[in-house]
Each structure stands twice: as C-alpha cells, then as structure tokens.
C-alpha cells in the first residue's frame, strides 16, 4: 500500500500581508493568488510543502503547516485578537 500523501494547510495573517506578490510568483505549484491585494490560497491540495512562500515572505504573513503533525506550542498570530490596539498591550 502506498504511503498516504502529505497534505498542508496555510495560515495567512491577512493584517500583515502587503500584497507584494513574492509568494505568488515563486510558488512552484501555483497554490497562491492575490485577491483584493491580499494573498489567498486557491489550490491548497497542490501544495508540496516546500515553504518557499513562508521563507521569502517579507511580512511573516504566511505559514505552511503539515496536516496531522502536532503543532508546536507557541503564540500563533493567526488567532490573535487584533481588536485590541497594540499600544494598549505595550507597557
């Protein structure tokens, strides 16, 4: 029986994305596209997990996670409450 194909999911921090198109242009499988000036995942099943988008993103706005792999414990900016202003948190 062949090994099950790895699948990946993308975490996009839309607030940080500036729409520079670097991730879209250098994705070898055309997984990503720009929509209204922000990056979106259009074909997540084609992703091979090369992480070139994550490595080259100048805004730390995209992350690739392998499905079924335990997540490392850490702050994930994708689930942050951006309703709170940065100044309020800064002491």
């Amino acid at each position: 029986m062949s090994e099950q194909k790895k699948t990946f999911e993308h975490v996009i921090r839309e607030r940080w994305c500036k729409g520079c198109n670097i991730c879209v242009a250098f994705c070898p499988k055309q997984v990503l596209a720009l929509k209204n000036g922000k990056v979106t995942v259009v074909q997540p099943n084609l992703c091979i997990g090369c992480r070139l988008c994550e490595l080259r993103c100048p805004d730390f706005a995209i992350e690739v996670h392998e499905r079924g792999k335990p997540e490392s414990v850490g702050i994930d900016a994708a689930h942050r409450d951006y309703g709170i202003s940065p100044e309020a948190e800064h002491d």
Binding site: N21, L55, R56, P58, D59, F60, G74, A77, R80
Partner: protein, 286 residues
C-alpha cells in the same frame, strides 16, 4: 515560522517596510537561525544604527539598541566588551555600515571581536528617499545621482576579509534558505562575522532604475548571483557582471574579548602576588 514567532514583538507588527522590501526576509532568516540554535532571549542583544534596515530590532523581542547613524558597531563593541557572555548581533544597512560607519566596521573587523554583523545591502539609502550609497553599482540612478552614479562601489566582503573578519558570507533575499544557514554559521563563529544580505528596494532603487517589481528584482538576484562553489568550475568570462554568494571566508583566529580577559587574569595574578617594592609599584601607577 511558528516556533520562531516567540522572538518577535508581535504587537509591533506589521512592520513599516514597503511592500516587497527584502529586509523582512532577512529579519525572518535571522530569527529562524536563532530559533534553530535555540538561543535564550535574555542573552541576545541586537544593535542597529539608522536606516531602513536598522528598524529591524524594533520588531525583535531581545534586548535591543537603536543607536546613532553608523555607530551600531561602536555600541555593540561596548556591550560585548562589558558582557562577553552575551550574543551580540548588529543589523545594519549599506549606507549605515560602509559610509558613515565605515571606520567602525573596519576596526571591529581588525579586533576580531565576537559580533555577528548582518549588512542588509539594498544598494541605496532607502529611508531618506534614495540617495546613492557607497554600495550603489556604477551607473545606477539615485536622487543625488540623477544622471547615474559615477563612483565605483565597495566590495564589502573583500573589504571585511582584508580588514580581518574571520567569517564572511553573502546571500540574497532570493536565496532565503542559504541566508538562514549562513547566519546560523556566523552566529556560531567566535569572532567578527559578516553576512552581507543583498536585498531589494523596489520603491527607490527599483523604480528609479526601472528594475520592475520586487519579484523582478528577486529574479535579477537569481540570475546574477553565483555560488562560490559553482564559480570555481566556471570560466572567468561567464562570471562577468555576477557576484558571489555563499561562504566566502572562514578562518578562525584569536578573539578580542577572550584575549582581553586573559590579559586581565594574567595581570590580576601578578598584582595579587605583589609583596611591595618600588619597581613593581611603578608599573601599577596611574
């Protein structure tokens, strides 16, 4: 990225850099290299001067110093000298490091003090709207060179090697994985390490010189960068107009703070055993 996210001051992001600026890629590579080495946040000091690149420490959750123009290495030398157990990283730009900070740079390299310097070379003064810097290639247009820059540019890697740095490497924002590996090696090197990170400035250098978007500029790096290992097998005429990337120099030598501590210990031994007398005392007078 998620495991390296703890090294960011997230409440300060998104950063101030222009869309497509390569400085973010370099900062990301540094943070990933630090995460790979699992350095303690309280033992790392990041120092910067003035310029676009020097905004980087503001987004990093270490002890950080944003100092005067060109003096990042001078401040870093002070930090390292007083607390040699700290890991000191300098993030500087091409204008900050090679123009106003040129003297600090060569003397830090000469001393071989254990500082890792990351020079984000975008070939222009981005923050002040695109004046030409000592790293602007000949013929390129800047605000202060509207008909093209007529000066020759520095080869920063060779300058660092000649001045005495013990680890010198170069990569570009396109070669992000290589950059990460080189920064990791530079952090491990005991001595003055220089990593020149060539980044794109689509707003000023790119627009004025009609180099296109950030993607076009990254493709330009891809075409004109040759790995030093590959370059050895290439004909010299094929290397014209190209620049080398990879580990350019790595030759460990005696480190400044270690030598200084040794000297202090030696003198302390000498004066602890001091029994009195005129001749020895004269040496100790100030």
């Amino acid at each position: 990225m998620s495991e390296s996210m703890k090294y960011f001051r997230e409440q300060r992001l998104p950063h101030i850099w222009c869309p497509g600026c390569g400085h973010g890629t370099v900062t990301g590579a540094l943070v990933r290299a630090i995460a790979r080495l699992n350095l303690d946040r309280s033992n790392v000091v990041v120092v910067s001067g003035i310029g676009c690149s020097s905004r980087a420490p503001g987004y990093l959750d270490f002890d950080t110093l944003h100092t005067t123009h060109g003096r990042a290495l001078a401040f870093a030398t002070g930090v390292k000298h007083s607390r040699p157990n700290l890991k000191v990283i300098v993030m500087t730009g091409d204008g900050d490091c090679t123009a106003i900070g040129g003297n600090h740079f060569i003397h830090a390299a000469r001393r071989n003090i254990d500082i890792t310097t990351i020079v984000m070379n975008n070939n222009i003064y981005g923050m002040t709207s695109g004046q030409f810097s000592p790293m602007t290639p000949k013929g390129m247009i800047g605000t202060t060179a509207p008909y093209g820059n007529s000066e020759r540019s520095f080869d920063l890697a060779n300058l660092a090697i000649a001045a005495g740095a013990t680890y010198v490497a170069r990569a570009t924002a396109y070669h992000a994985t290589l950059l990460e590996d080189l920064i990791e090696k530079a952090l491990l090197n005991k001595g003055f390490s220089v990593v020149e990170a060539v980044t794109q400035c689509p707003t000023y250098l790119g627009r004025r010189n009609k180099l296109g978007t950030a993607v076009d500029m990254l493709n330009w790096f891809k075409e004109s960068a040759v790995n030093i290992k590959a370059a050895k097998a290439m004909a010299p005429e094929k290397l014209e107009g190209k620049f080398m990337i990879g580990e350019l120099y790595n030759k460990p030598d005696s480190e400044f703070t270690a030598d200084y501590d040794q000297l202090v210990a030696q003198l302390q031994r000498k004066f602890d055993n001091f029994q009195g007398g005129v001749r020895e005392c004269a040496q100790n007078s100030d």
